[in-house]
Symmetry: C3
Subunit: 266 residues, 3 copies
């Protein structure tokens, strides 16, 4: 499916995205999903999360900064999503650098995430190939993580996305580069975490098409295009954030496709 | 009391609003209360919440996405508010759709909320008249919930507000419609949840007048007017959010009253 | 060290600030740190917090609205920071007014915070000199807390900062006044809490210089200057917040130093 078709499907179907995310980004994540045409629902309590993961269009599990009860909810929700066929996304924030979340994220791989999205350090950390970065900082380069990402994809069946100045999305036999965004994006908290949620929205809107790689690419294209559009209007992070949220809503699917470069490696 | 008099009372008395709310909206809720002239205090720990509910001007309990310890705090705070005569607002987010919060919200009714605010699905779900919506989405229409809202009001003694394109506020013998707002408002997370907090602020500022229906109406009028004012300046959710927060602060009580339509049904 | 040199050191070294803060302000705190040139990492889980406090550049502990597990994490992190020589900041939100956090904050003093930042009521409450304010409101005046702040500094070894219309920073033999900011700042939630995090960033960027008083002053100068700059562009809190975040990023260290008045009392 094309980027434009997938983003149109999000707007047409308003996928309900069950978000289990860290304490820093729930509000911006919800605002991003609403701007992109999806519907957010943050549900952490284990008993409720296990139910909701079976009825939501898609699930996001972001392991940054949860308390123990949220971690328990994540375990139950991932299992429930796997059982119900709900597509789900794992965002391994600071995995590799901190022990509890590293164990949690690796355990969750048994529940077959549809996609995994992180920066290079986190992808390496999840795969056991690195000691991890410093928190959410990306200290490793995207290209240095591609081979590991392919191995992680082969081991788990997930589409694996590495975020960076150029995003790289890999799955069996495919490596896709998405070029867009702006250097101000990493200065706005949540532009990474909300991308994981938007990946879930794209997967949820297209779950019957069995084209998860394309859905992951489309979500990255939307973020990259909105970053480019916002940079036309703002040069500091406060106003950039506002312009970027506007652009997520204002850009048509065709405009997104026209703004960014999406290239499959041969 | 008039809308203008109640909003003036908020600005004059700076009611201290104890907020126990979900993980998504604490920041926007606090900013909205400050813009409207109130003072927010988020306190969830059971031991502290039970104390603070007796000294605050008003209390908000929003059952969207809390952990078990917060739920315990809500139970203790509602009981304490009831005992101390502190007006309090129940926001039954996703009640009817998810079991733990549905039980919690129904249990809390025993502590006599002064007002209940939700969308139509949530009001129906709280009253046991519906299976509930999908998360915070309103899948039921406002008008279809009015009769149930009157019954809920009669059973609990609370003023019941149903949020939608037109808001309807009901209590014994009264049904009031507030027209205002903008279709962009549901695309900004927290415009519903922060309304519950603003209802609490209006109740807290006027608790000696024993006119809770008017206070609930006034809070809805403020939100509707700010939505109308923001829509003059912004057409996408990022900049709309900024303009709406500005308008909550900039509009005088008389300007609010002039912008929206408030009509009591005969 | 001068204000300009310290703010330049923050931008040059990107200190990694471990934040353990309340549920209301994590997002704005992260955005402020990024705008100022630092890197935020919010980590509350006790096992992870105890590890991270030893590797971070600095630690912030803000006792506003945490759950029991976060409180346990704060105790472990403060002990770990003290043991590792990590500079750390205590922000005693609503201490004096609420019992659990008051006990927590006083217990944490044993782990030798590098700096303590709060409003006058909170500083008095922490020192046991007052019954505390109403939540995060400052009901006491800055000047009335200076003598107590000096005593608290002598007892703990910490630099103590009192926030208000004019900020006062005290340590052994020094009392410094920082003039700047704008009356709109208290209407934007997190301008106080994020200041505590920025104090930690300044301490982390200059930990080898052993000049914590100057670092605390520099963080206050940055906030005051950004408030002045934002007030040139905005007169309501929504747009003020955006302009203020922009200014934190846009102002050069020299511009900050030129905008505010920093005066040591003789």
């Amino acid at each position: 499916m094309t980027v434009s078709a997938i983003l149109s499907a999000v707007r047409a179907s308003t996928p309900l995205v069950h978000c289990m995310t860290n304490t820093v980004v729930p509000e911006v994540t919800a605002n991003v999903l609403l701007a992109a045409g999806a519907a957010p629902a943050m549900i952490d309590l284990p008993e409720e999360a296990a139910i909701f993961a079976t009825v939501a269009s898609a699930l996001l599990i972001n392991v940054g900064n949860g308390l123990s009860e949220q971690h328990e909810g994540m375990r139950r929700a991932a299992a429930a999503a796997d059982g119900a066929g709900t597509p789900w996304v794992l965002d391994p924030v600071a995995v590799g650098a901190l022990p509890v979340r590293t164990q949690l994220a690796r355990d969750l791989l048994a529940h077959r995430p549809t996609a995994i999205r992180g920066n290079a350090s986190e992808i390496l950390g999840l795969a056991g190939a690195s000691g991890g970065g410093r928190g959410v900082d990306a200290t490793d380069e995207v290209d240095a993580a591609i081979a590991t990402a392919h191995r992680l994809s082969a081991d788990t069946g997930a589409v694996v996305a590495i975020s960076g100045p150029v995003d790289v999305i890999v799955s069996a036999g495919r490596t896709t580069r998405v070029t867009g965004g702006d250097p101000l994006m990493p200065l706005v908290i949540g532009t990474g975490c909300a991308l994981g949620a938007t990946v879930a929205a794209a997967l949820g809107a297209t779950r019957d098409t069995h084209a998860p790689h394309d859905a992951v690419v489309a979500a990255h294209a939307l973020f990259g295009a909105a970053g480019l559009a916002a940079a036309e209007l703002a040069s500091h992070p406060g106003s950039f954030r506002t312009a970027w949220l506007d652009a997520l809503h204002a850009l048509t699917p065709d405009e997104v496709a026209a703004l960014v470069t999406v290239e499959d490696e041969p």
